[in-house]
């Protein structure tokens, strides 16, 4: 089976690939001409302009039951955004456009193609720094908090029932 985590992450990656294109991002954000590359996982050779979706989710937790046997599972998908440029303003402007595009991508369909009940993006950390090549880096980590009503899979329920049965003997 495919977990909720993987389904939501894959939808997010595909959405980033479809939004960060010259036809969409390039038209929507004339403030920057730096259309970023999109990756699943942190790019091994860090390119100058990129959007990378973390390959694993973070902060997953269950909470109050919505109905009997069905918990609410919360987890966070992460997107790294980065831009480098000789001019600080061009690096930071590009980054702000990336953040805005990620936010818009989620708000356009918070259910992430029906893989979650709801999702909310937020900047977890962001900043700029000068590097030794006399360029500036502007980077941000956007967390997308997702919630899904879910129950345990029948096969796991069967295995747990069998396990309980062994203990009962």
């Amino acid at each position: 089976m495919v977990t909720d985590f993987i389904r939501a992450r894959d939808v997010l990656v595909q959405r980033m690939r479809d939004v960060f294109t010259p036809e969409t991002f390039g038209v929507l954000y004339p403030e920057t001409d730096k259309v970023p590359s999109v990756y699943l996982g942190f790019p091994a050779t860090e390119p100058p302009f990129y959007v990378a979706v973390d390959e694993i989710v973070d902060a997953a937790a269950t909470s109050g039951a919505a109905t009997m046997g069905r918990d609410r599972v919360d987890f966070t998908l992460h997107v790294w955004l980065s831009a480098q440029h000789t001019e600080l303003a061009r690096a930071s402007d590009a980054l702000l456009c990336y953040i805005d595009a990620v936010f818009g991508s989620i708000m356009a369909d918070p259910q992430l193609c029906n893989t979650v009940e709801n999702s909310f993006p937020q900047i977890e950390i962001a900043g700029t720094a000068a590097d030794s090549s006399k360029r500036y880096i502007a980077a941000a980590l956007v967390g997308i908090e997702c919630s899904v009503w879910t129950g345990c899979q029948p096969l796991i329920a069967t295995a747990v029932a069998a396990s309980n049965g062994k203990l009962a003997r």
């Binding site: 302009f49 440029h85 590097d131």
Partner: protein, 256 residues
């Protein structure tokens, strides 16, 4: 490209160059006086002329006389060193940085000056040239060999002969002293690592500094960060360029 009076620019026969003198006076023609070859007079179009890449052989040293319309006297002079090629084409600098620098928006003069500065730094620090150039050394008449440049090719001044890859000796009547001795020198080809290092250095020179001038490090919450600084940690502030200088350079010469 605008050039200032009484300066020397390096022009390569492999690359088209349009030269214009950076003065307010109206000029009509230029006279090119090459060290090797015939003099040429060219008309100016809008104050500029295209460098004749096929008629002046490299290496060469050309005095350019800028003349007012109708005059045959030199109003201004500048000097052109002619080589066969540059260490990298200007287009490589324009497209450098994968979008991080946008150097194509800068004027050609700025890019040209950065390439020239980077080339000079690399050649001085490596004690070599990777294109054929004309060199000269002053002979004061003292005993011993004359230390010329590395990769010596041909002695141009009568009365001197090549003793080794970088030394000259007197061969006959040479006086009176002191006397300039001319020769050609330079490696046959430019290694790609050298080309790439000079390109990196030129790009670095074009970027404005993002830290206080003279800073050699800074204290942060994570500890002290040491900045690689030109003149302190090597000839340049880029370790990879310093490595290329060390790898392909000739090193210092010492005489005991």
């Amino acid at each position: 490209m605008k050039v200032a009076p009484n300066t020397t620019v390096r022009v390569a026969n492999s690359e088209v160059a349009s030269l214009e003198l950076d003065v307010t006076a109206e000029l009509g023609t230029v006279r090119l006086l090459p060290r090797f070859g015939e003099e040429t007079v060219l008309p100016l179009d809008g104050g500029a002329f295209d460098w004749p890449t096929t008629t002046i052989a490299a290496p060469n040293a050309v005095t350019v006389e800028w003349r007012a319309p109708g005059s045959e006297d030199a109003a201004f002079k500048c000097y052109v060193e002619v080589v066969s090629r540059h260490y990298f084409p200007l287009d490589a600098l324009k497209g450098y940085g994968d979008g991080r620098d946008d150097f194509e928006a800068l004027p050609d003069e700025t890019l040209w000056a950065a390439r020239q500065a980077a080339t000079d730094v690399f050649e001085e620090a490596s004690h070599r040239s990777f294109v054929e150039r004309i060199g000269r050394i002053k002979d004061y008449g003292r005993d011993g060999l004359l230390a010329a440049s590395h990769d010596l090719r041909e002695v141009l001044t009568d009365g001197y002969a090549q003793e080794s890859d970088s030394y000259l000796k007197r061969a006959g009547a040479c006086g009176p002293f002191p006397r300039w001795v001319e020769y050609t020198y330079g490696a046959d080809e430019i290694p790609s690592a050298v080309s790439s290092a000079v390109l990196d250095l030129a790009a670095y020179m074009l970027r404005p500094s993002n830290r206080p001038i003279g800073a050699t490090g800074e204290s942060t919450d994570a500890g002290y960060i040491h900045f690689t600084t030109a003149g302190r940690d090597g000839a340049t502030a880029i370790p990879e360029v310093n490595a290329a200088i060390q790898m392909f350079g000739a090193g210092e010469r010492f005489v005991w």
